[in-house]
Symmetry: C2
Subunit: 94 residues, 2 copies
């Protein structure tokens, strides 16, 4: 099982990602697209990565905007799994 | 533009749908699936209907659960577009 990261390591990882927001025990990011279909296509792409990683973000779709929220419920906070998936998601958009 | 429905008509339509919850100016429903991929596949199917209708629900994915929320922002409340899309969505699941 992934271990909960220390506050210091979490801050380092958040800084490294650059564009995710730290909110308590979670990291989140809002992605904006040109259209609703583009937003849904992105969610589908994220879903493939999430399922492969066995780690599933909360996903909120608001027309052309998608909010992803990551945390590791089993560990009671942020783990390496969250930051790995966040980095993979960012790679989708190049 | 679709016109906002009266409270009486709204209640009739909600009763007719049977499984959507009326919350103020919105109707919502939570759909549960056997897996995350099944939930995402459902969202993709909903997205095709939504795009064809030019009417887009708010979508929240929580692992194997999907919450859809419908309202017509332009009309400031519920219109026939919301109930039509809700009925179409219900048909996905047969």
């Amino acid at each position: 099982m992934a271990e909960k990261l220390s506050d210091t390591v979490i801050q380092e990882q958040v800084d490294q990602l650059g564009s995710w927001r730290l909110q308590g025990n979670m990291i989140s990011k809002i992605f904006q697209f040109s259209s609703f279909p583009a937003a849904v296509a992105f969610v589908t792409h994220v879903a493939f990565l999430a399922e492969a990683a066995g780690h599933h973000p909360d996903v909120d779709i608001r027309y052309n905007k998608v909010m992803l929220v990551l945390t590791t419920h089993d560990a009671g906070g942020l783990t390496q799994k969250d930051f790995s998936l966040a980095a993979q998601v960012d790679e989708i958009l190049g």
